[in-house]
């Protein structure tokens, strides 16, 4: 990729690099497969039949476009700028994950693959994958950390109901990183028959670019939706999204990367606090390394051993981040901030109470950070936050904490 940038939107290069990030760091067993996926995706995205089919399912099955909503009471509460919510939690299955899954499932079908594997953290990607597999009559195996199986039980139940086999992973800390290791091991063993639907903008090329492309519908819709509210040509002033691997954020950000006036902020999970060592903020607290098929920022020790991440949100509990985010961080185009477990819980309760929208813990991090900047912005400033998932799945884990914090009605 050229370093003399006049656009932030033409990556990655042929080898899947965003600057020094990305690439294809996988075992030889997988390499022919990865190349096959790349070839198939390159052909599919230029094929109008594939594009039409994807559009059909986005509209009639996922329920797109997702609404844009002016959160008037939250805006008034913070007292400053206008806050809009992009309502991707209203998609079928309750999160943005289905956008990408539908694209990859259609690609798998086009490649003649009928067996699917996936990893999941919060379970939203697993549920979306199980859903698409039910829809298309495919076999589905979902790898999920044992700790996440425990804290996201409703999603485990949904996956089983949809016919997917959920495989609890006990290695490591039993969270998303370990689930991804195990999914990759399974893919190595079943490379010739199985398609791996990766849930975020990470992994070997072409996954980061492909997942970004499938998620970019979020930002593309926002562009025309905001004009309907605010008049022709009006761009958002600030975009905010939470980041684990970073797929919902990339979907919101990518269409706006070349609109210089748009400030873009990604919010990582600061767990117990950045100084506590127990967090999942790979850009703020990590350094470049190689894991799960790509070079990116990773939480790791001095010896290059990968560290355990911590976040109350299973979906953000990952020691890495998509390589394009690592590049956007170093290039300075996107600013990366963080919010703690406690701040996210407060935002979770606040949004439920003021807007009647129970957010997932993941976007609660984005809202928590939005709450820090909104009061100091002028009234005509427009902030758009991606409400990327709904919080039903989190209730069991969150309610005792909210009770302790005195944030529940009697």
């Amino acid at each position: 990729m050229s370093t003399a940038l006049n656009t932030y939107r033409n990556g990655p290069d042929e080898g899947g690099h965003f600057g020094i990030f990305g690439g294809r760091f996988v075992a030889e067993t997988l390499m022919p497969l990865v190349l096959e996926v790349e070839k198939a995706y390159t052909a599919a995205k230029q094929d109008s039949a594939f594009i039409d089919e994807f559009e059909y399912y986005k509209q009639h099955y996922i329920g797109r476009p997702s609404p844009l909503f002016l959160a008037a009471r939250l805006s008034a509460h913070y007292g400053g700028a206008k806050l809009y919510l992009k309502r991707d939690e209203l998609n079928h299955t309750g999160a943005h994950k289905i956008n990408n899954v539908m694209g990859q499932a259609l690609l798998a079908r086009r490649m003649g693959k009928t067996k699917i594997i996936a990893e999941t953290g919060a379970g939203q990607h697993g549920v979306a994958t199980a859903t698409a597999c039910a829809l298309f009559g495919m076999e589905c195996e979902v790898y999920m950390g044992a700790e996440d199986v425990r804290r996201q039980k409703p999603n485990v139940d949904r996956m089983r109901l949809l016919g997917a086999t959920v495989v609890p992973v006990t290695s490591g800390s039993g969270t998303l990183k370990d689930a991804m290791n195990e999914a990759l091991r399974t893919w190595v063993a079943k490379a010739e028959t199985h398609f791996y639907i990766i849930g975020t903008v990470a992994g070997p090329h072409p996954y980061p670019a492909m997942v970004r492309d499938f998620q970019s519908v979020i930002g593309e819709e926002l562009r025309w939706q905001l004009e309907e509210f605010e008049g022709p040509g009006r761009l958002p002033d600030t975009l905010i999204a939470c980041i684990g691997g970073g797929s919902n954020a990339m979907g919101l950000f990518h269409p706006f990367l070349d609109d210089e006036s748009v400030e873009i902020i990604g919010v990582e999970a600061a767990g117990h606090g950045l100084d506590s060592g127990a967090h999942a903020a790979s850009l703020t607290g990590g350094r470049p390394g190689v894991l799960h098929g790509n070079r990116t920022y990773l939480l790791q020790d001095d010896d290059g051993q990968i560290a355990e991440a911590h976040s109350i949100s299973a979906g953000l509990d990952y020691p890495g981040i998509g390589p394009e985010h690592a590049w956007l961080h170093e290039s300075g185009r996107v600013r990366y901030e963080s919010a703690t477990d406690t701040e996210a819980l407060e935002a979770f309760a606040l949004c439920s109470r003021l807007e009647g929208i129970i957010p997932a813990l993941e976007p609660s991090h984005a809202l928590a950070y939005a709450g820090k900047i909104l009061p100091d912005l002028p009234p005509d400033h427009i902030v758009v936050m991606n409400m990327c998932g709904r919080g039903d799945k989190d209730l069991e884990a969150v309610l005792p904490r909210l009770e302790d914090m005195g944030l529940l009605a009697p």
Binding site: R24, F25, E28, M31, G289, L291, G304
Partner: protein
């Protein structure tokens, strides 16, 4: 000082002269602890290992099954680092100038250490080659080419999914020998039938003059005998580190049985290759 390919070349030449395939033994550096690991390492040549694959521990070994994952975690828990791995190799070399040792692992610890510093120190410590699982030819600029520039062989993995059209690209920068991963899967799972291994080795030999070693899923003296009869070497890993695991006490510490248990198992495997070609 670099021996370059010399030790590996001498070993494969000697094996040809003896008319047998070689035995490669994988152990993870510092498993179950540094002192015990050093004793195991020192004892491998006289127990019958022709060459050693010395595993550099990594927290997230994506191509390894449960046995080698556990081995890696034991080593890390006991304090192993890339620096201590190189140090163990240095100590080994002080007492053994002949047995080839190939460092095997994943890229992140090397990247974190610094590629140039790692290569210089690995060569100075007496390494004879590198196997880095997550560096396919598409990423040769990372480590393979810098290693070649210093005359340290970069041993490539080829697999059942490496089709003929791809083989030239996989083999072009490979040196020392070619490591054939005999199964489509992770280490320590199923065992490959001899006929399939023979056919795979033959296919590789059509593309390269390098020796071919076969690994993944080779567990018993019988497996070793069968594979070493059709390949230039058979490599055993999971079954060896399982012997370490089985010898530990309830707290996971080494016992008096650990070193001898592993070495006597290696002796049994060695009897397999020395049984001659079937």
């Amino acid at each position: 000082m670099s021996y370059g390919h010399a030790r590996l070349d001498r070993m494969f030449a000697a094996l040809r002269q003896e008319g047998r395939g070689g035995l490669g033994i994988f152990v993870t550096a510092g498993d179950p602890d540094r002192e015990t690991g050093q004793k195991i390492l020192a004892g491998l040549p006289s127990a019958g290992a022709d060459m050693i694959e010395f595993g550099m521990p990594f927290s997230d070994p994506m191509a390894d099954g449960p046995s080698i994952q556990a081995s890696s975690l034991r080593a890390l828990k006991a304090g192993a680092t890339l620096a201590s791995t190189l140090d163990m190799l240095r100590t080994f070399r002080a007492g053994d100038a002949d047995t080839p040792v190939v460092l095997m692992g994943y890229y992140n610890p090397i990247y974190s250490y610094g590629v140039e510093a790692f290569l210089d120190e690995a060569i100075a410590a007496g390494a004879d080659g590198l196997i880095v699982v997550d560096l396919p030819p598409e990423e040769d600029a990372e480590l393979c080419l810098p290693a070649r520039a210093k005359n340290l062989p970069f041993v490539r993995l080829t697999t059942p999914t490496t089709h003929d059209g791809r083989l030239p690209a996989v083999l072009v920068n490979t040196a020392g020998f070619v490591y054939y991963v005999s199964i489509t899967g992770i280490t320590g799972t199923q065992t490959v039938p001899r006929d399939l291994a023979a056919a795979a080795v033959k296919r590789l030999k059509n593309h390269t003059d390098l020796p071919v070693a076969v690994g993944f899923g080779i567990k018993t003296p019988e497996d070793v005998r069968a594979i070493a009869s059709v390949a230039d070497a058979a490599i055993v890993g999971s079954a060896v580190v399982e012997r370490i695991r089985d010898s530990l006490d309830a707290e996971g510490q080494a016992t008096v049985a650990t070193v001898d248990g592993v070495l006597s198992f290696v002796g049994e495997l060695a009897a397999g290759v020395r049984g001659g070609r079937v």
